[in-house]
Symmetry: C2
Subunit: 165 residues, 2 copies
DNA sequence: CCCAGATACCTTGATATCGAGATAAATAGA
DNA sequence: TCTATTTATCTCGATATCAAGGTATCTGGG
């Protein structure tokens, strides 16, 4: 017989039920856990990225270029679309990565307005190592779920995401 | 018969499988969806908060005070613990809220180091309205799941969270 | 060919956050 | 009672993000 354990989110819902019994706060519980989980997960993954001198932003860009396959190059616009950030943010990210020598930028010969961003050799080597470590970290982070549970969670998140984005 | 639809995360996983078949990227899919979902959900909820002149940060603090019940007061430390932000961040949040007249701060009579932060009448009225709208928004955001699915998702998130925080 | 509108990217200014370190007050122990 | 340690909060500097607006370039219809 399994004992239901009160967690932080449960306590929040209990408080609301007492203070505002008119509100249906069940969705708040689910979305609250999702937010907290995201927060905790990001913190945990940041540690691995930091071992390679990276953070969420820089890992995100380098990984996007790496998984694209040869010649490991995309335009800033492509990168923006893939990573869900605004143009100002992407400009900033690319400046940092260029300064660190992890990417190279060349004018797009086919479009005078644009650039092509590609992984440098150094950037390729770094992300190739970092992504392996990152995947290991992620494996640990989901290890409290069985493979079937993880897959079920995946399906539910996918369904929810499909109707929002 | 249900057709499996490729979403953005699926395409990322396919790319990785091609480029790095040595990596098990299944956890990456789940955690990637969780991150994207959090991003999309925050964007959606921000719209509701903005209708009341609030954002994630300010809503978070006011709601924490409101659900506490009378006398709607907590110390900055309590608020920090409840909202998972650092002391510097909380100081900043409280400055903004005080400037807006939504909270009041008094020296804690029982502890000369600390303060008590309480909702002003204006703050109480505002959060009481805003939270009702927020709950409505959340209801819409999870409406693509059946009640059973939402509850299942809740349980999985809770289990995952339990082993992390 | 030309021009209006779309597109690609950058710049700027405002915010939110963190981490490290400072200060003041409380507390526990000799 | 003193003192060392802990706790509560703030300050400061660095960074990441967004939104709005600017410039250069492309593109499609007349």
């Amino acid at each position: 017989m399994s004992m239901a354990v009160m967690d932080h989110v449960d306590r929040i819902l209990t408080q609301w039920q007492r203070q505002r019994p008119d509100l249906n706060v069940a969705p708040m519980g689910t979305l609250g856990r999702l937010k907290r989980l995201n927060h905790v997960l990001m913190r945990a993954m940041e540690k691995t990225w930091a071992e390679y001198g990276l953070n969420d932003s820089s890992f995100d860009v380098l990984a996007t270029l790496r998984r694209e396959g040869p010649p490991y190059a995309l335009s800033p616009s492509d990168l923006m679309a893939s990573t869900m950030v605004t143009s100002g943010t992407m400009t900033h990210r690319l400046q940092q990565l260029e300064k660190a020598g992890l990417i190279e930028r060349v004018k797009n010969p086919a479009d005078g307005r644009g650039f092509l961003i590609s992984l440098s050799d150094k950037g390729f080597a770094l992300i190739d190592e970092a992504v392996a470590a990152h995947v290991e970290t992620q494996k640990v982070l989901v290890s409290s779920l069985s493979e079937e549970q993880r897959s079920q969670l995946d399906a539910l998140l996918k369904q929810l995401l499909a109707n929002l984005s």
